[in-house]
Symmetry: C2
Subunit: 148 residues, 2 copies
Amino acid sequence: MQNSEAMALSAALLAAAGGLTHRIHEGVVARGFEGLRPAHGFAFARLAPDGATATDLAVHLGVTKQAASQLVDEMVRKGYAERRAHPEDARARLVVLTARGWACTRAAEEAAAEAVREWGAVLGEGEVRVLREQLLRIAPQGPVRPSW
Amino acid sequence: MQNSEAMALSAALLAAAGGLTHRIHEGVVARGFEGLRPAHGFAFARLAPDGATATDLAVHLGVTKQAASQLVDEMVRKGYAERRAHPEDARARLVVLTARGWACTRAAEEAAAEAVREWGAVLGEGEVRVLREQLLRIAPQGPVRPSW
DNA sequence: CTATATGGTCAAGCTGCTTGACCATCACGT
DNA sequence: ACGTGATGGTCAAGCAGCTTGACCATATAG
């Protein structure tokens, strides 16, 4: 593998990721959820199952807990999440999605599915499955880095 | 394709892109080029062939020309690029990479090749080729968006 | 030759993040 | 039980990267 081929692959991967991010963001806005940036999506993904603390979010996003707390403030202010008392730790606050937050999460899923469907039209369904398997095997485990 | 599968694919793609960005950045730093952020890499890619104007860069990066100009200032100050008179337009200034800028570009290519080599070890060389072709076909053409 | 568009710069302001300090609560060792 | 350090969270100040707005110099069209 020559360096130029590696760069072509890297550029394509970055362009595809950037394009997908853009598509999802557009789709979410088109479904009526405004004032959100892509970074919020990564937060939603962490909150989705059962909620999380601000510090959990900070680790997941790779930012300070202050920054995570500000992000939560914003999501609360806009009605996507709310803070509850933590059932096991009186210091902590459990951040959970509101109904609107869940609706927004579903909107993001739909937008993603829409983009992926177009890939299916270009590559074929089977190839998209292959692509998913390949990406799952090379994707790192660590915290999602929401910015370049 | 269910939404959950689309999300799994999206998450894997974003994680792979984020991981690759991180790897390249680390590799560039390890080779002695400091004070650079991933966004600079996208600028380098545009400057590499024959140079570009600040406005060209702005369009390519999807930012204002003022922001692009500041980025150029920074690259000039750190010795990676220099401004020259534009051969055909007295208003414009042609921004070109210095020898150090080219060395940094090669370092980024090496770091990318290193990461891709690891993917080859996991997926096999043939599968990596397939991956590259697939990504090239779904990657959008537009301006590279250096931030999420 | 005027009029408008374009490349670039200067200046001010905003936003999202950081560092640093601090308080409340938890968990451990004695 | 109690002191001590670790941990979750907040408040405050500062900074970096970007934006908008105004402006000048040069190019291009009518």
